[in-house]
């Protein structure tokens, strides 16, 4: 029974990790390439979830909804880039924090105004509903497995995109030395816009994909945003590979820590204090991990060479 | 003969496969002005960074006044009396000229963990700083924001800050860089006056100034000292002539 639980929790951890990676991938590039602190990235994730709630209700199909969500999420990202963000590149981090913080307030409220404060739910696509039997007495939802698979596929595509294409090469060069890339005659403004829009779309995609298993509500991106920051800082700002590894690490540690922390502590403490200590330590684990990483490697696990 | 003030023994700095400082050895005697020259890319700036502590060394030793300072960081070296000026002007542009120098005086006089008394009114700091500014010829510019000084004045301020730490050895990294004819003359006169008071390592591209000012000169080529001697000895040195005439920098 315990090994079944371990498998389930490991899969849950992977799933959280994959989700974090989808959001972190865009954010780490925005941070790395443009040295830009975007607090509003979590909002893009929320918008993805709301868009699919709306579009799948309109069309009556999850997949048609997803097909509409992606371009619109991209458009929202580009709109924000053109109207606001591009005016903030090269400004102080403080101005960026202030502006994107204001944007969070605005967009969270806007979502509330348009769709109401009550949580929405998105029906699960029929193909992926139900569970599979992984082993005796262990059922796991198909949708969650599909989510992991889809996330890994996206990660692979992203890897190819970054490492094998011309745009990817420019993005990598931009992450380590943006002025140089600019001096070589690349339209850095356009590169920024592409990276930004693409990152926003990925976050929206993540939001859309988890919408069927989470409740869609205002502010849902806020706390995930913080986890994403932890991921990109552990991974090393600007590094996709770092973000991938850190995302899985954070997803697994957070999920397994919450599930098994109290059990492990019971080996050393009595049940009551183990439960108490386990409950307080588990949510702090990833932050402790981050502090430890920064202590030994102040630029993360995979620092981008500058 | 007494031990040298600074002794550098087989110092090494590599960046990946590139050896920039290649078992460099050098002595600086107390009281002398020792110039370090060499063609572009010889490793002069890297050497200064290693001496001042902003770059670490992979091998070799730096002895300052008989103590091994190879592994001390920059602030520790400064407190032992090794001060530097920067090739690219490095001042506090938002503070007054006086405050820039007073801060350096403060660094060597008493604690800086003093929280309530207004530092603007600390006469000992201000007086010492003002005296130094008078010496470098910036006495009239005390109250000006340092950022609004001319380039030449900033170079002088750079030197004033360095000497305000009361160093026993002064590392001057191209003090004449970017100065016009007249400004350079002012600066050279200042250096001539300073050399009676401080031991100085001078890295400089202006060969006229170097040969006019230095007591001894070391020639750096490819990370090594190929010759050390008085200006006359260096002028006559065959190896130096060969190293330089190819580049055509020495006359």
């Amino acid at each position: 029974m315990s090994s079944a639980l371990l498998i389930v929790q490991t899969l849950n951890g992977l799933q959280l990790g994959i989700l974090l990676f989808l959001i972190a991938a865009g954010l780490t590039l925005v941070f790395g390439v443009m040295d830009f602190i975007n607090l509003a990235h979590g909002v893009q994730y929320m918008i993805g979830a709301y868009l699919i709630a709306m579009f799948s209700a309109w069309t009556g199909s999850f997949w048609a909804g997803l097909a509409l969500t992606l371009p619109v999420a991209l458009a929202v990202g580009l709109l924000l880039e053109v109207t606001i963000f591009r005016r903030l590149y090269g400004r102080s981090h403080l101005d960026q924090v202030l502006a994107t913080f204001g944007l969070i307030l605005f967009l969270n409220q806007l979502v509330k105004t348009i769709w109401g404060a009550a949580p929405l739910s998105v029906p699960m696509p029929d193909v992926l509903s139900g569970s599979v039997r992984l082993m005796d007495g262990l059922l796991y939802p198909v949708y969650r497995i599909a989510l992991i698979g889809l996330g890994l596929t996206t990660a692979l595509l992203l890897y190819v995109l970054i490492n094998k294409t011309r745009v990817g090469m420019l993005v990598r060069a931009g992450a380590s030395n943006a002025p140089m890339v600019s001096a070589l005659g690349v339209d850095i403004g356009r590169l920024f816009m592409i990276v930004f829009g693409f990152g926003a779309m990925l976050a929206g995609f993540a939001g859309a994909m988890v919408a069927p298993i989470l409740s869609v509500e205002p502010g849902m991106g806020d706390n995930l945003l913080i986890l994403t920051f932890v991921v990109i800082v552990i991974g090393g700002i600007g590094s996709i590979r770092g973000a991938f590894i850190a995302a899985l690490l954070v997803g697994l540690i957070d999920t397994l820590g919450r599930a098994f922390g109290p059990h492990l502590l019971r080996l050393m403490l009595d049940a009551a204090s183990a439960n108490q200590a386990g409950r307080s330590l588990a949510p702090m684990l990833i932050y402790i991990l981050m502090a430890a990483v920064l202590f030994f490697r102040p630029s993360g696990l995979f620092p981008v060479k500058r | 003969m007494t031990a040298p003030l600074l002794r550098v023994e087989k110092l090494v700095k590599r960046f990946g496969a590139l050896v920039v400082t290649d078992e460099l050895s050098l002595d600086v005697r107390a009281g002398e002005m020792h110039a370090v020259i060499g063609p572009n890319g010889a490793g002069k700036t890297t050497f200064i960074h290693q001496l001042s502590g902003s770059l670490s060394s992979q091998a070799g030793r730096i002895l300052f006044d008989d103590a091994d300072i190879t592994h001390l960081d920059m602030p520790q070296r400064v407190r032992r009396g090794l001060a530097r000026s920067f090739q690219i002007t490095s001042i506090l542009p938002g503070q007054t000229v006086l405050a820039n120098v007073a801060l350096a005086v403060q660094a060597r006089s008493g604690t800086s963990f003093r929280f309530l008394r207004a530092v603007d009114h600390e006469a000992p700091l201000n007086d010492a700083a003002a005296a130094i500014l008078d010496r470098v010829g910036l006495g009239a510019r005390k109250g000006v924001r340092a950022g609004s000084l001319s380039h030449g004045e900033k170079r002088l301020l750079e030197i004033a800050i360095a000497i305000a730490t009361a160093p026993r050895l002064l590392l001057l990294d191209e003090p004449l860089a970017g100065l016009g004819q007249e400004e350079a003359q002012v600066c050279i006169q200042l250096l001539a006056a300073l050399k009676r008071e401080f031991s100085i390592i001078l890295v400089e591209h202006d060969m006229d100034a170097v040969f006019q000012l230095a007591d001894r000169i070391s020639v750096l080529v490819a990370g090594r000292v190929i010759a050390t001697g008085t200006p006359d000895e260096i002028r006559a040195n065959a190896a130096v002539r060969q190293a330089y005439l190819g580049d055509g920098e020495l006359d």
Partner: protein, 335 residues
């Protein structure tokens, strides 16, 4: 990663600017001191409570401005210290210790200790990494508070009443409490201002402007930045003590990252580095929030874009704007 160069808003000729600032701040404090009398005419409790709260946040904002404006240390976890201060009150009170003269030292000590421990890690990093590490430590403490089930966990805990002074319920009256808060704000402002102008403050500012230069004259930035963080943390913990007393309630909600963001917003809105800007920023942010929420339930639709505009404008906040205006007036006055 380049170090942040957060220049203070004031770049005026020192003497006249100082005179102007002194008279402005004095005027502000006189107005605040008269407020309870004026408030008697209107909705007394409501206005007094609102302004008391704003003054408490002004103390927190000043403490943040010390490290932000003078140290260029962008802390995104400063609300943790509000939490530390208020939990010091809550936890002590739940064990029967309601004496504020005991609560304050405990709060300040705990704040200083947390700043020491977290600063020692955070200050090894710089730039975005610094910002994110302060955020992480804030979150750590937040979750820790949530897990304190003995002290209310997620829901927090209600205080039995305001703290006592030497066993006497002197803080019970709202007006008295208001004046205590105002006096502490005044003390915080004056002390912090003096710190920024002391030997220590000059070193701190020097490190902000040019860390390489400071190392080259013998200052190790880490030590001074850490000391500044400790002072700021202890001061903000004091604000936490007051906040708990004002609301009569202690909860993890005091230390969410959004709250840290709001503190940053207050300082930036007021104009960083000027300290009095932090007071103005806290007052105007909280009053703006209140006024807007009276006008419409959708007030964040107005506040959000307002903050974006302030950031895009880059005026250096209200303090910077005031200086610009004043400079224009002075120039017009001179032939």
């Amino acid at each position: 990663m380049s170090q942040q160069q957060a220049l203070p808003a004031t770049t005026l000729a020192p003497a006249s600017a100082a005179a102007w600032r002194v008279s402005f701040v004095a005027l502000l404090f006189v107005a605040l001191a008269l407020l309870p009398i004026a408030a008697k005419l209107g909705a007394e409790g409501y206005i007094l409570n609102l302004v008391t709260r704003a003054l408490i946040f002004a103390i927190a904002a000043i403490s943040l401005d010390l490290i932000l404006g003078h140290g260029a240390l962008v802390s995104f976890g400063h609300a943790a210290y509000l939490g530390i201060g208020s939990y010091a009150v809550g936890i002590l009170a739940s064990h029967g210790v309601e004496e504020v003269l005991l609560q304050i030292p405990v709060a300040i000590g705990a704040g200083a200790l947390f700043a020491l421990a977290t600063g020692a890690v955070s200050l090894r990093t710089s730039g975005v990494y610094y910002i994110m590490s302060t955020l992480a430590f804030g979150q750590m403490l937040y979750f820790f508070a949530v897990s304190l089930s003995a002290y209310g966990g997620d829901d927090g805990l209600t205080l039995p009443g305001r703290s006592t002074i030497l066993g006497m319920p002197l803080l019970k009256a709202d007006t008295t409490f208001y004046y205590v808060v105002l006096a502490l704000l005044g003390a915080t402002y004056v002390l912090t201002l003096r710190i920024t102008r002391s030997r220590f403050g000059r070193v701190l500012n020097g490190i902000r402007e040019n860390p390489a230069r400071m190392k080259a004259i013998g200052f190790e930035p880490f030590t001074y930045q850490l000391a500044a963080c400790i002072i700021a943390g202890a001061t903000c913990a004091l604000a936490g003590v007051l906040l708990a007393n004002q609301t009569g309630f202690v909860s993890p909600a005091y230390m969410t990252w959004q709250r840290s963001g709001e503190l940053l917003v207050m300082v930036i809105l007021g104009g960083i580095g000027s300290l009095w800007g932090a007071i103005i920023g806290a007052l105007s942010f909280l009053l703006l929030e209140e006024v807007l929420s009276l006008i419409t339930e959708q007030w964040k639709l107005i506040l959000g874009p307002f903050l974006v505009l302030v950031a895009l404008g880059g005026y250096g906040g209200i303090a910077g704007l005031a200086d610009t205006l004043r400079n224009k007036l002075v120039r017009r006055g001179q032939p």
